[in-house]
Symmetry: C2
Subunit: 248 residues, 2 copies
């Protein structure tokens, strides 16, 4: 089912030529540790169409990459000369061009509800940066408490939103895939939160069950990186020297 | 063509009862000076379906309004018990339920390009707040310069994106309506920028021509408030005492 090809290939950097893309073939420009790229990868993997990944070194970007994205950011999707950027725009586009595997509901209200769900859970996608700040700036006392509390509040909010097996309902949906990379990073750095497990079931029973369920989804297995590599990447990232090709 | 009803009615506040909404009738919960509400109003006016506006006092919110929006924010759209919130979600939903007046293109790539356009012009939607800060905090020197320069940089970016008569192409489109309220507020407070006109044509020729064109669109005439009322509202807003019903 999963046809994401080349996710663990070295990141292309300044001086590297642009790899040729054959007619009809789909490609995602990505970075193995970027949560926004991961949204596009998960969505593609969950849909199950064949797509080639080209990793981009975000510190030393290939010159030609700016013709794909004006600011040289990832992710970007390309097929037959059509380039679509932004992790919040690519999923809709993928559903439009591969409608048989559409993840967003076709019913207008059900579709809007998925978008509202993502928007209401948005604190999860922003507060997790606070965990990096706690590490990087070695925050203590009040400042540390405030950052960690913001994450816990975001989890409280998500817990209330999760009324079924998944944010998308009885199966993983749009909001699940766009939120997953951020929950994943909270889980990976949850030691900072003094959690016994990523999302302890006594405090967040719905999230805890969701996490157990979605973690074993084939799309997650296909595109995510092991926690140990995330830890190694973040150490480099926080010291200003991100290493792109860890573990490959 | 324009059928937006009741835009200039007093804002409902704590204690006021919920007005009954008849079957099949559409309603937007709004606030006359909120740029996010204005997005929904403009989009509805440009589409031309009949919609009733219910204004909400955002300082003293009616109790029942939290059943429409969990945080009590505006805008929200309601019809036949379906409630859709968020100014970035309502337009898609309106195109889905009133497809004959769809503003977003049906072609997937053209649609994605409209969303990307909005995203790329997003600095216009955030930097304008800096003009309020300059006023409120009576910023001087470096701090004042930084805020005003951020707005000018955002306008430079928008100028580059505007390659046709409108952001949407030869006619006003999705990106035009979602960006308009923010350009409008920059125009209203452009005296701070020492501009001779809202968007001087010698610096921003495309934006200047766009502004002249869109300002006379029937949808703009139908839902916007006169600059003098905006000035009066902002004065109250910055002093912590926003007056909702100015001019009615």
């Amino acid at each position: 089912m999963v046809k994401v090809i080349g996710n663990n290939t070295p990141a292309l950097k300044t001086g590297d030529p642009e790899p040729k893309l054959a007619k009809g073939k789909a490609r995602i420009y990505s970075n193995r540790f970027c949560p926004y790229s991961e949204r596009a990868l998960l969505y593609a993997a969950a849909k199950g169409f064949e797509v080639e990944i080209v990793n981009i070194n975000l510190k030393e970007k290939p010159e030609w990459y700016f013709s794909k994205h004006p600011q040289g950011k990832v992710p970007a999707f390309e097929r037959d000369g059509e380039i679509v950027i932004e992790s919040s725009i690519i999923p809709d586009y993928l559903d439009d061009i591969y409608p048989s595997s559409a993840i967003l509901p076709t019913d207008p209200y059900e579709k809007a509800k998925q978008r509202i769900m993502l928007e209401q859970a948005a604190p999860v996608t922003t507060t997790f940066f606070g965990l990096y700040a706690v590490n990087k700036d070695k925050l203590e006392g009040e400042a540390r408490f405030a950052k960690l509390k913001a994450v816990e509040d975001a989890l409280d909010g998500a817990e209330k939103l999760l009324k079924d097996k998944y944010f998308g309902g009885s199966t993983a949906g749009y909001a699940d895939w766009l939120l997953f990379p951020f929950f994943e990073r909270i889980a990976i750095f949850s030691a900072l939160l003094d959690f016994s497990s990523p999302f302890p079931g006594d405090r967040w029973p719905a999230l805890s069950a969701w996490w157990a369920r979605i973690s074993v989804h084939p799309a997650v297995a296909a595109v995510t990186q092991p926690p140990a590599l995330h830890h190694e990447f973040i150490e480099g990232f926080l010291s200003g020297k991100p290493v792109n090709d860890i573990g490959i």
